[in-house]
C-alpha cells in the first residue's frame, strides 16, 4: 500500500512568548503545539490516503521535546507516525528541514504523496514543500485549496492572488495546502485513546545521512517594537481635538 506523508512542525505557541523589558524573548515557558496550518495538512493527508487507498503517516522533525506532539498528531487520523528526533532541529533552517524530511520520506518508501501546510506558525517561511520537492526531484504544487485524484494523477486547484489555477501532476508529488483546504476536526475521545497505541518510528539525526549545518546564521531575535508617535488628544472639547487631528494629518500629508 502506498503511503501519504503529512509533514508537521511542533512549534512554540506564539501567544505564550514573553517579551522581556530589553525586548529579548523568553520562549522557555511557551507551550508547544502542532503548527496551525499543519493540522489542515494532516487532515488533507488522511483524506488523500483514503482516496488513494493508502495509509497516512505523520512525519515531524523536531527536538526531543517534539515527542509530546506524536499523540496529538496521531489522534488526528494518521495510522502511524515517524519522528526525526534531533537536537539539530532547534537551529534548523529551511534547507536542513527539507533535507531531513526528504531523507525520512525516502526511508519510509513507497510514498505517493507528501503533504505540507502552506507555512509554519512560527516562521511562516513557506519553503518546506518546494524544497522537499527539489531534494527529491518530485513535482511540487503549492497554495493548494482542493485536490482530487485520477489514477496516478493528482489534480489540484491553487489559489493565486488574482486567479484559481487547476493543475495536474503525476505521483509521487509534494503539495502544500492552504487552511481553506479543509476544517481540521478536533480529535474525539476514541481518536485520542487509540493514538497512544499506533506505531511510531523514530530516526536519530545520524540515521539519515543529512548535513545538519544550517545555511543561514541567525544574528538576532527580538520583539517587534511598535514605533508610533502616539500623540493622543484626550483633554478638552471634541471640536478642538478634531481640529488638532486634522491639522496633524495635513502636516503628515496623508489627507
Amino acid at each position: 500500500m502506498s503511503k501519504v506523508i503529512a509533514c508537521y512542525k511542533w512549534v512554540a505557541d506564539e501567544t505564550d512568548i514573553k517579551v522581556n523589558a530589553d525586548s529579548t524573548l523568553d520562549i522557555s515557558k511557551a507551550k508547544g503545539k502542532i503548527s496551525d496550518y499543519d493540522r489542515n495538512a494532516i487532515e488533507a493527508a488522511v483524506q488523500a490516503a483514503g482516496a488513494l487507498g493508502g495509509t497516512a503517516v505523520a512525519l515531524t522533525f523536531g527536538t526531543p521535546k517534539a515527542k509530546q506532539s506524536l499523540k496529538d498528531a496521531l489522534s488526528r487520523g494518521p495510522a502511524e507516525a515517524c519522528y526525526i528526533n534531533a537536537e539539530e532541529a532547534a537551529r534548523a533552517d529551511g534547507a536542513v528541514t527539507a533535507k531531513a524530511l526528504a531523507a525520512a520520506v525516502k526511508k519510509i518508501e513507497n510514498v505517493s504523496l507528501v503533504v505540507c501546510g502552506e507555512g509554519a506558525s512560527d516562521t511562516y517561511a513557506r519553503q518546506t514543500a518546494p524544497r522537499i520537492g527539489a531534494v527529491l526531484d518530485w513535482p511540487v504544487i503549492t497554495s493548494v485549496s482542493s485536490v482530487r485524484f485520477d489514477g496516478n494523477a493528482l489534480i489540484a486547484v491553487r489559489r493565486l492572488e488574482d486567479c484559481m489555477q487547476t493543475v495536474k501532476s503525476e505521483l509521487p508529488a509534494v503539495i502544500a495546502v492552504l487552511p481553506e483546504m479543509n476544517s481540521a476536526p478536533i480529535p474525539g475521545l476514541k481518536a485520542v485513546l487509540s493514538a497512544g497505541k499506533k506505531p511510531v518510528t523514530e530516526f536519530k539525526a545520524g540515521d539519515l545521512g543529512v548535513d545538519f549545518a544550517p545555511k543561514t546564521t541567525v544574528s538576532a531575535l527580538k520583539a517587534y517594537a511598535m514605533n508610533r508617535k502616539s500623540v493622543i488628544f484626550s483633554e478638552g472639547e471634541i471640536a478642538d481635538k478634531v481640529k488638532e487631528l486634522t491639522a496633524a494629518l495635513r502636516k503628515e500629508g496623508v489627507l
Binding site: 534547507a95 519553503q127 524544497r131 520537492g133 486567479c163 543561514t216 488628544f233 471634541i238 487631528l245 503628515e252
Partner: protein, 302 residues
Amino acid sequence: MAGIYVYSDKKDLAAELVGFAKGCGKRAIVLTFDERAAKDLSNSGADKVCLLKGDSELVENYGKSIAHLLAEQGAELFVVGATVSGRDIAARVAGYLDCAMVSEASSITYTDGKLVTERMMYGGSVQQSEVLEGLCVVTVRAGKFEAISGAAEVTTLEISADTRTTLVERKDIVKEGADLSVAERIVCVGMALDKREDLQIAHDLAAVLGAEVGCTRGVAEEKHWLPVEQYIGMSGAVVKPKLYLSMGVSGQIQHVFGIRDSQIIVAVNTDPKAPIFKAADYGIVGDMYQVIPLLTKTLKGA
C-alpha cells in the same frame, strides 16, 4: 554574468527589486517569462533582461533550470517578488541549489560584503535578523524598494521545463468588496458600533477621505455587518495604506498585526487605555459617534 538576479511575475515588483540591486552597487539581471514585461523592464535600470522561453506555461516548472542558470552564471543573490508563484519558485531554486533562503525579508542590506536580512516571525511579534553567505535566495514583498530607470539589453534564452505538472485551467477571481490591500486610505470600524445602520457614519467619512471601509473581525464574523473580505487582521486582510483611521476599535494584537505597515495610524476610542492608542500615531479619546461626524464635517469644509 555575476550579480543579483531578479524575478517577479509582477513587473512593477521586479522593477523595485532592480532598484534594490542597483542600490547595492551590484549588477542587476532580470529574469522574466513574459515578452511585454521584458520590454517594460528594459527601462528599469537593469544591466540585462533575460526573456526566458520554454515549453511550459507554468513558471514554477522552471525552478530547476533557473537554479542551474544561477549556478552557471555565478550569481551572487536571487531576489524574488513575494507572490504565491514567486515564493514557490524561489524555494524550489533554493532547494535545488541547497542554499540559504530568507522568505519575505522586511529589510536586506550588504554589510561587510555579507547579506544581512530581517524578517518577521510568530505572527509578526518577533523580528529575526540573519546573515547569509554565498549564493542565496531572498523573497521580498512589493513596496519595499524604489524602482529606477535606465536602458538594458534584452536577450532571449531557451530554458527547459519540468513538464510533469501541467496547467488544466485558469479562472480569474472576482472580488466582492474593495481590495483593502491596495487601498491608500482606510476607515476601520470596530465593535463599538451599535448597529448596522451606523456604518453610514464610516461611509460618510470614507467618502470625504476617498477611503475604503474596513472593519475588525467581530464586525464581519460575529455581526455580519460587512463581508469577511473587509476585516483586517492576522487572519484577514493585511493592509498598508497611507492613512488608517479606526473608530471604536480596541486594538487587539491580531488586528494591529494587519495595520502596522500603515504609514499613519489614527484611533478614535472612548477608552484612553485601549491598546489601539499604543499602536497609533494620532488618537482622540472620545465617543466616535460625536468625533467621526465632526471630523467628516471639518474635512468637508476644508
